[in-house]
Subunit: 186 residues, 2 copies
């Protein structure tokens, strides 16, 4: 709908580029083609979360599984669907039959050029242990949908950070929008 | 729950600092003490959104009103509540009687040290025109809660980006979590 001048690159990092347009400072990942957040729920309504230490905030954070698309040479030309399935498997050990788009939008419209796609993963079968790739140490939590609010509040009281987009995913999981694809396709 | 070495500062910008811990690159705002997102709904269930051009993503984005705390000398020692009321007034022209905490958590746990607090604003009275401060150009949208999903989908089809945390706010507004303060206090 509009366009701006190309950004001036202030610092090119290994993973993240710091740049400017006029006075506006913001980052952009330089090692991937996209970011996907996966909202997994089993057929018996167990919602799957991951817990991991996050150096930027220096805390253990409860999140939905997520990852970068095309960030490594061993899986080139990755689509959102294949990347979502790969990340879900790596982090949780679940294979998904269906990947259903829920939303896409900016990660942080004031400070990043990156956008994220959120998908629902359904038709889940546990086939591995999860835990992440060699650089990650991920703990898996399976929580009944009806218990999720109380469980998240308990985790918060224990000192975990809760990723705010968890509630975006739950909005869709609880299917309050009757026109959503997760109502139509599942 | 844990602690890491102090980050190495790679670039100190005017608004954002680019830094590293080990191999991990991430940013942190250096011009404020916090970030607040305000979820405003009138007594007759009109949800208030803002629309503005966002240079990092080069698009017009639909969001909840939001802003930085203590980012200017003319409002020192600002609390979350006073900052939320100020930003809501600046951006939408609404005065809020009540500011109710909904959540806090990381903006982007893999790339930023910043956290955000989301609050509900209630007891609203329109007293000004809104539109933002002298650096902003904000358009206001008031949408009935029951029409929000269809309205957001229409905006998306028109080319607007939808900020994903809008759905986090809607999760709370629709009161799907019966233990929430917005159920207790309003």
């Amino acid at each position: 709908m509009t366009s701006r001048p190309d950004p001036e690159i202030i610092h090119e990092g290994r993973f993240i580029r710091f740049q400017k347009v006029g006075d506006w400072e913001f980052i952009q990942r330089n090692n991937c083609t996209g970011i996907v957040i996966i909202v997994p729920m089993t057929d018996d309504q167990q919602v799957i979360f991951v817990e991991q230490y996050r150096p930027p905030v220096d805390k253990f954070v409860i999140e939905f599984p997520a990852g970068l698309l095309n960030d490594r040479a061993d899986y080139p030309d990755e689509s959102i669907e294949s990347g979502a399935k790969r990340e879900l498997m790596e982090e949780t050990g679940y294979r998904a039959e269906q990947i259903i788009p829920l939303l896409d939008g900016p990660i942080s419209a004031g400070s990043s050029a990156d956008t994220v796609t959120m998908v629902r993963a359904a038709g889940l079968t546990k086939v591995g242990t999860g835990g992440g790739d060699e650089t990650e140490s991920i703990r898996i939590h399976e929580v009944k949908l009806s218990d999720v609010d109380a469980w998240l509040e308990h985790q918060r009281q224990q000192g975990f950070m809760i990723e705010p987009k968890i509630y975006s995913g739950l909005y869709f999981l609880k299917s309050y929008n009757s026109s959503l694809p997760n109502k139509v396709n599942l």
